[in-house]
Assembly symmetry: C2
Homo-oligomer: 395 residues x 2
Amino acid sequence: MKMTQTFNQHVVKKRNKSLVLHAIKESFPISRADLANLTGLNKGTVSSLVNELLEEQLILESGPGVSSGGRRPVMLLFNQSAGYSIGIDIGVNYVLAILTDLQGNICNEKLIKVQNPTFEQTLEILFNVIDDLIAAMPQSPYGVVGIGIGVPGTVSRTGEILLAPNLKWKNVDLQSVIEERYNIPVKLKNEANAGAYGEKKFGAGKECNNIVYISGGIGIGVGLILNGKLYKGHNGLSGELGHMTINMDGPVCNCGNKGCWELYASEQALLRMAFEQNISIEEGQELTLETLAQLAEDGDEKTIQLMEKLGEYLVIGIKNIINTFNPEQIIIGNRLVALQTWLADSLKENLARNPFTSQQEGLLIQFSKLEKRSAALGVAAFSAENFLTINLEEN
Amino acid sequence: MKMTQTFNQHVVKKRNKSLVLHAIKESFPISRADLANLTGLNKGTVSSLVNELLEEQLILESGPGVSSGGRRPVMLLFNQSAGYSIGIDIGVNYVLAILTDLQGNICNEKLIKVQNPTFEQTLEILFNVIDDLIAAMPQSPYGVVGIGIGVPGTVSRTGEILLAPNLKWKNVDLQSVIEERYNIPVKLKNEANAGAYGEKKFGAGKECNNIVYISGGIGIGVGLILNGKLYKGHNGLSGELGHMTINMDGPVCNCGNKGCWELYASEQALLRMAFEQNISIEEGQELTLETLAQLAEDGDEKTIQLMEKLGEYLVIGIKNIINTFNPEQIIIGNRLVALQTWLADSLKENLARNPFTSQQEGLLIQFSKLEKRSAALGVAAFSAENFLTINLEEN
DNA sequence: ATCGTTTGTCTAGTGGATAAACTAAGTGTA
DNA sequence: TACACTTAGTTTATCCACTAGACAAACGAT
């Protein structure tokens, strides 16, 4: 019958403890006195909360700091190594698994190339890679605190994969399978959402509250951080901007609609255009994003023009994004990052011609600096964050 | 230096008091005992908070209710008439001002038709209409608690009108002018955002957390309720979906870009198409939305086909909205509501052909039932809500 | 009339935050 | 070296809001 969480002193304590923990996490080493200043809490309150966090081994004392004219402070550290989080990015032809500490630092990393595996084969790979990461993990008080998995497809709010067309998966409940085997909280996320979260946590967008992450791969997916939170939509299916109509009289997409953005601005679109324009690659080489990047690098005029065209198409969608969200930051991630050298200028030029200047005021548009790790880092961080929150709730 | 609000017992009390007040507001008449059940708070706590609210005249006791086998409960009412809120919708050729009680019930309403007034003339009209509403307002403990104003243009986060092209206003600070004259909190909002808020509060979307409100007038604006909150974007300029490119090779819009949605699916677009197709209206009549609606009513085949075409174009944008936001509800409001009889089927048919069925699961698409009042009700409710929150903060 | 039930108030107790006193441990200066 | 002054961190007394549970008031049923 309860409509909402009531607010009592227990909640107050949890929130303040979380406040203190996150303050330490964000700006350690830091003294109790500075924490009191930073959080606005009373010195005594900070002291007692800090002591509890020390007991829980979530933070550490690192000895005296430098005096500022009086007693030397005892510096506190966030105990990054109190536990570890696993983040896995399942791509179409790879599985990237990373082990991070609670701060998101990568401690171990496994990249496995795959070729059209079945669901069962993928599961096998996942089990192996997770087992390996756990086996090689240092001793710690909390061990593995969670596993996050990003997939290129739609994920329901309950964590079920509804449809991952490029993996040829439909209605599979990967989350439960992994959760049952390892008995650890498992979070499934759409790859673009995971990437957006990763960029928010570790990218240039740390301070930004409104971020649009464009995951440009074979298709295009978009992850949204709005009002500082991941926006997932009613069924968890937001951000399917690859299938935004930008040319209503255009060719039919395999989704069934006409003139979708990803027909023009995705990796697949680029390869198709390159093929149509008879861009000549060396014998024996396949036509891939990488070979095209190499061609552009070698100064092939036709390829460079193609890149510019791709930039034009990208900007059409980006302008729509700007008009829709008025974001603070737009990050282009995934495969397209490999082309940033040739895309950057084209994007800049085309965006300079956008008449909506107010919307672009203070807007940062950049390529992901996390390389291929945005999604894996994102889900790992999500699991870590989840652990820190749950852990505080329980006490 | 404080990074965040700290949580202490004062906050707890404020939040719980707000919880109780809103519970009463949502489901009065209600007894203290039922409130305790509903909110999860202790009986004693509810009692003391209720007493404070009674003293502040925000709620009322309405005498005994029916017994359920024991002592008869004292029923509590939300005191809707503790104060009044003014909501004003400034349109291109009208000014709609309403006076509502704290619950959002309309107590008085003034609709003034205007013809291309200057900013100063509009200001004069606003002063007059506000004065009139205040003069005719019943006695109450708090009087006018706020004024909300919706305008068809971009409004910065600080409340300044950056650009209202159809009003021909640019960089005007209406908020301060009104605020100084009446010494009451004034909130300025984009008309679409105001409408979205109105629909969230009073429309079919009360329980929905993810609502997209499409304000279809001369142009198209969109208001977004995401994760239960109004999403305004980094500079407050989100929702300019009228200028979403849906036809990248299409005609140039006066915004400078090509193939914007509102070139196809707005009131202006409809009138243009009607003109181009030589739809014959009666002599002496102007070509307007209303005359076209009348023609369709009279069974004019050409006009009806035109409406169907408009529906097709609308759906192209709506599909983009679905793919972007995966909303729970899409509400079409403003001028286009007048055409719902002829648009509804077209929308339904075209949406049935949308391949993204998962995204449409549980999605409600409907026309606004608040008629022209969405925006005015929205800003009035926003001001009322603001008062209730502020009022609790202060004690 | 009596018992059980429901409503609402009252009181004592709990937990957490705060202010301020206090201890500890530095720096600066004569 | 002595002493004043600072800053860090702990301890204590107090305050405040919520809770549990006792209690009183008001009602229905028998």
